[in-house]
Each structure stands twice: as structure tokens, then as C-alpha cells.
Subunit: 209 residues, 2 copies
Amino acid sequence: MPLQSDYSLYLVTDRSLAGGRSIEEVVGAAVRGGVTCVQLREKECSAGEFVDLALRLKAVLVGTGVPLIINDRLDVALAAGADGVHLGQSDLPLHLAKKIAAGRLQIGISVSSVAEAVEAEAGGADCIGISPVFSTPTKTDTAAPLGLDGVRRIREAVKTPLVGIGGLNVSNAGQVISAGADGIAVVSAIVSALDPEKAARDLLREIGR
Amino acid sequence: MPLQSDYSLYLVTDRSLAGGRSIEEVVGAAVRGGVTCVQLREKECSAGEFVDLALRLKAVLVGTGVPLIINDRLDVALAAGADGVHLGQSDLPLHLAKKIAAGRLQIGISVSSVAEAVEAEAGGADCIGISPVFSTPTKTDTAAPLGLDGVRRIREAVKTPLVGIGGLNVSNAGQVISAGADGIAVVSAIVSALDPEKAARDLLREIGR
């Protein structure tokens, strides 16, 4: 796995939002547009299918330097030879995940408060997802939006790479970076875009400003 | 993990069938009645809750010699320090599961045909679940019932320990053993019983005949 990943523009997949396009097609275009990290998030498929999808995305990403992160299922991440796993607060506890991964995976954690961020850093998380920054229709089980002020407060509390997620797009991506995030994560802003490559390029430009 | 488990009477849990009793209560009683193996099967909970449940069952089973098997999630099995994982045909592929488990877990596989049983044995499965032997209301995603003749045909084809599952109870448990299974697995016959301890004892008597 990469020793230090670039989380600037972090794509989280959702097949149901891809308008019938394959996940490989959308991810391939997004990476050409400059996405720096890809998380495969699948809640409604079997582990076997999840591994298949991960291997297909790995084939898309090979040689690009873009890491593949698997949502929730550490076993799928290991089975597919992915670069990392991303865990929610109700997924595997971080200390157990680290023990099982044994250095083979980057581990990201979603947090919705300063306290959770501090705990994730103390536990050795490689990346912290601030979720949600703004309200989002993509995910319905989230806490109250933290806003830009929440990003600032978490930035003051931890040194771990921070990625904001939730309701992010070209109109607010730059503000999230200015508030202290190292990167922004998006689902629909790229997955649902008519032109995912251009959507990624436009987002990257806002992040770089 | 035990080098060789006793699969004679294999309990598969289902909280929704326990009539409001805790899973620890039902499993504790079942083990007093003679259950030799317990599989925790949870499809509708987060990985964090799954680990919690597994640790609670482990506490119930400590010192009894009865192994704890986790359904589907190999990462949960490793996180909880369970004895094994049980995989369906659409779960993690056996060869990848074996690689990740690296000898730390027994691996069981569900099969619904002679061909799948032969493949599971060739892949090094520690236990094969024949599913379903008879039709069952507990699981709706199963193949056509194999019947006692299916158990016989699979027994002729493989040497791996065989456990029948699906519609099994005191009235047919003995026949499944006579057909060549090493054990029988039940869900509702124990989980839904008013007296799980007695239900287990009655089943064990039929198996021993």
C-alpha cells in the first residue's frame, strides 16, 4: 500500500447513482479527471460480489497510483488486495481492525465530532472522514451536519489527514479545504455527473485554489 | 481453535426467532442440552454489533469446548477471536478466505450439489453444510431441497465432515445421520423451542441412535 496517500479528491462510489453506467466506467473517467483516492462503498451486495467489484476497480486503478479503499468490510479489502478500509463508528472497532490488518491496510474512520476525531487519531487511524460536513441526500444515517466550523474545530484537534464528506461540490469544495481539510470526498458530484472526468477536474481546480 | 470439531449437533442462531429471549440465554441453554457447535448468523446488524454479539457468545461458550463459528464475515470472526467462519457460495471465495484466515479459523462452506461439495473439499474446507436438506421457512434464498438421497450422494463424493441443514428436527434428524451426515444443524428447532435445553437433548438422542 502507498505509505502516504493523497486524499485531495476522494471519490466514494455508489452504483445506484451512476445512471446505469458501470462502476469501472465512472471510476476510470474520474481518475482521468484527477481523483486521487477511490472508495468502493457497497451495502447491498454479497461479499463475493463485493470482492469481484473490488478486483474490477483494482484493474482500472493499476498503474495510476490511486489507492483503492473498501468500505466497512476489512475481509473484502484483504481478499481483494485493496490499499485500505474505511470504517464507520458502528463498524469494526479500530483497535481490532488494526490488529487484523496488521499493517497491510490504511484505515480510515468516519467521525461526526471532535471527540470521535481525537479518539480515531489516538487509535492510529490513517485518515479521518468528517461526516457530514453539509446535509446530503446520499446517506441517510448520518449525524447533524458539522459545517465549516466543525471542520475547523476538528482540524485544531488532530494532525491526521482529514477528508470532508457530505453535500460537497464545486461551490463549496474550496471552503472545506480553507477550513482545514486535506481533501474532499464526493459521491454524487462525480458519480451522477454527465461527465465524471470533467466533474473531477472542476473539483480539483476548486481544491487547488 | 479446536483441531477437529464435533459437528454432531450444530446450532445456527437467529435472534428474530428467539421469542424475545437473548441470544446468550438461548445458546447457554442449548449448550447445556448438548449442542456441540454454535454458529452466529446475523444478517441485519453492523459489524460493530456483530463483534459485540460474538464476544458475548464467546463468554457463554468459554470452558465448554463448544466452538463459535461466525457466518459470512471473516473479519468479524478474526476480530472476536472466534473458532471459525461459515461461508455461503456467494460469500468470500474459499481460497481467499483461507489465505486471510491463515490457519486461524476453521472454514465451513454451504453447498447445494455434489459438484459444490467436491469443489469445497478440493479447496480445503473444514466442514461442509448441505443446504437445504428439506425445505425450510428460516432461509428463503436457498436452492431446491436435496433430500436424504442428496445427502447420500454427497457423502459418497467427499470425506470432509458433513452437516445437514434445512427443515431438520427430532422427526428426521436420525435419518439425515443414517444417510451419511456427521451432524445436523438447526435453527428454529432449538431457537424457537420453549425449552432449548430439552430440544437440544432430544435432538442429540435422535442423532445418537
